[in-house]
């Protein structure tokens, strides 16, 4: 966008200067361009007024798109460049814009026409960056998973909240009070929910071993069925299918605050000794965390919702911050596949950091190369 504008202005200046020396400068510069990386459903019209508002208070555009009747559009001359997206709907539509200047005495002056046919591209080149990075990522994952499978030990540092899980479960058993596990309040579309379900498995296995009462209130109908499966398999793996009941994971309610109302109500009544709040949370995070504290439960929380982290940090005993939630699922399962991806993720992060630092250094010297090549947010 920016470079495009600068280009046009430069281009305009280049052409204006010599012309201005000979005769009058054009009243405005304008150009119709194909919008890159789309399916041709839109083209762009860039308009740079050159005349002063006193001289030409308004411009009149006659816009013809395909077979549609010609539309008239008035542009007030505020001395600013104007960017107009024109909707063509599909590729292959001819577009023509004729510009007239409305002079201060009300007379019209034709400034010429610009036209083109809308074009669609097959690939959004901007998204290719994500695609290439994805391929790199896949390669890294395959490499490290292979290493992990061969038995190479992949180091993962300790994650503070996780150490506490065993103690917290043991405490619930000693006190003879139940364990609550809230797998977030979002749907399967959220990665945090998946990470939470991953941690649910070892927790459920432990709970089954200790024969502690267990409760998994859920907000989303699909998550309910997955959570039921996870808990069921965990109970079987622990050798206690007799303790399993489909009612362990249940749908408490379907809206944000009715869910938190129902769950805090059950916490008040059943007085759990340990409460897990892992997954995606919204404003209800603090309601759940504070109610858990009121009944004297140990709270182990974790979320990737950065807006809710302050509340978990303040109200809970242990908090997994952001990424730690994802790492935790790998850490707890000790599965080579998951450990390998964690390693790959770190390498990728390192590369990104490197790119980032390079961009900063280049930028310091006024070179936009890295910035414009790798870090353009235009899509």
């Amino acid at each position: 966008m920016k470079t495009k504008k600068i280009m046009i202005i430069l281009w305009a200046l280049l052409f204006c200067l010599p012309v201005a020396a000979e005769e009058r400068a054009p009243l405005a510069n304008f150009e119709l361009k194909d919008t890159p990386n789309n399916a041709g459903e839109q083209v762009e019209f860039l308009f740079v007024p050159a005349a002063s508002p006193e001289e030409v208070p308004e411009f009149l555009l006659h816009i013809a798109i395909g077979d549609e009747p010609v539309k008239e559009r008035r542009l007030v001359n505020a001395g600013k460049e104007i960017f107009l997206p024109l909707i063509t709907g599909e590729a292959g539509v001819p577009v023509e814009v004729r510009v007239e200047a409305v002079m201060d005495d009300g007379s019209l002056k034709n400034l010429g026409t610009s036209s083109l046919v809308s074009r669609g591209e097959w690939l959004n080149m901007n998204s290719m960056k994500a695609f290439i990075l994805g391929l790199l990522f896949i390669a890294l994952i395959i490499f490290y998973v292979g290493r992990a499978k061969k038995g190479k030990d992949l180091f993962i540092r300790k994650i503070p909240g996780l150490e506490a899980i065993d103690d917290a479960l043991g405490r619930a058993t000693e006190m003879g009070r139940p364990v609550f596990y809230v797998p977030g309040t979002s749907s399967m579309a959220d990665v945090a929910t998946l990470a939470s379900l991953n941690i649910l498995r070892p927790v459920a296995r432990q709970v089954a071993k200790y024969e502690t009462p267990f409760s998994v209130p859920v907000k989303d109908p699909i998550v309910v069925s997955v959570a039921q499966d996870v808990v069921k398999e965990a109970y079987m793996a622990a050798g206690r299918p007799d303790l399993y009941d489909d009612g362990i994971a249940y749908l408490a309610s379907m809206g944000q605050f009715d869910y938190s109302g129902a769950v805090s109500g059950s916490m008040m009544r059943e007085k759990p000794a340990t409460v897990f709040l892992l997954g995606m949370f919204y404003a209800e995070s603090l309601i759940l965390a504070e109610t858990a504290n009121s009944v004297g439960a140990i709270q182990i929380a974790g979320t990737d919702a950065s807006s809710q982290l302050p509340f978990f940090i303040a109200a809970c005993d242990y908090t997994l911050i952001g990424e730690e939630l994802y790492a935790a699922s790998a850490y707890m399962s000790r599965e080579p596949l998951l450990l390998g991806t964690l390693k790959a993720q770190d390498i990728l992060k390192g590369l990104l950091l490197l790119l980032f630092v390079t961009a900063i250094i280049f930028q310091l010297f006024g070179i936009d190369f890295v910035m414009d090549t790798f870090l353009k947010p235009e899509w």
Binding site: N38, A39, G40, W122, N124, S127, M128, F131, G134, F137, I141, V145, M188, V191, L194, L197, N198, P221, V224, S225, V226, D229, V230, K232, A237, D246, G247, A249, L251, A252, S253, G255, Q256, F257, D258, G261, R269, L286, I287, A289, E290, N293, D304, S306, L309, F311, I313, A314, A315, I321, G322, E323, Y326, L337, L338, T341, A344, L348, K349, L352
Partner: protein, 207 residues
């Protein structure tokens, strides 16, 4: 069939999810896919409602002391459903007005009041957490108090307002940005794992 096909489906639809975004020509297809997801998801509602029903039925069967309230849930659920469905087919009828009133004067105030409980919870959380136990807790405490001051500052305390603006602009933005970038990588990584079939927890259980 039990395990391979689901993994294959996840792979195929994962690729579709990527393709609709990087191939501009598939933009129209994206809408179809989003409709698909809405349609498929709507049937899961039956699972949810049955799970909820089961939960409350168990309470009633076991003659739990709160079983009366389980009846409350059933009755209101059926009531809402019936007036809502009749109201849908008879717009402008009494049923639809009743449904609207149930929404505006039962659901909305309950929602808002539950939300407003946070005013109290945030107070007790602050009281408990903002203690200068360690240097980290002290930093948390100081930042919290300064911003709380800044938000209602007047007269000579206006300096707190400026500090608040700076705290929000620099350290908070930096912390949140660092977190967001890391989380973004985590999301990309997990998503790739799912599409490749490495991550299978959503199929319920391990091998």
């Amino acid at each position: 069939m039990k395990r391979t096909l689901p993994l294959a489906l996840a792979f195929i639809f994962g690729l579709i999810g990527i393709a609709v975004q990087i191939v501009p020509a598939l933009k129209g297809f994206l809408n179809t896919m989003l409709d698909w997801m809405a349609i498929i998801g709507s049937f899961a509602l039956a699972l949810g409602v049955s799970s909820l029903t089961r939960h409350h039925m168990t309470k009633i069967r076991r003659k739990h002391k709160d079983m009366f309230f389980s009846y409350v849930t059933f009755v209101t659920m059926l009531f809402m459903m019936i007036i809502g469905l009749i109201g849908y087919f008879q717009p402008e009828s009494l049923y639809q007005r009743l449904f609207g009133n149930m929404y505006n004067y039962v659901r909305v105030p309950l929602d808002a009041s539950m939300f407003a409980l946070l005013a109290f919870f945030i107070t007790s959380a602050a009281y408990r957490a903002f203690r200068a136990r360690t240097w980290l807790a002290t930093v948390l405490l100081v930042a919290g108090v300064v911003v709380m001051m800044g938000r209602v500052a007047f007269g000579p305390f206006m300096i707190f307002n400026d500090i608040t603006a700076w705290l929000m602009k620099v350290p908070t933005t930096a912390a949140m940005r660092g977190l967001t970038i890391g989380i973004g990588l985590g999301i990309v990584a997990t998503s790739i794992k799912i599409v490749l079939g490495i991550e299978r927890s959503y199929l319920g259980g391990g091998e």
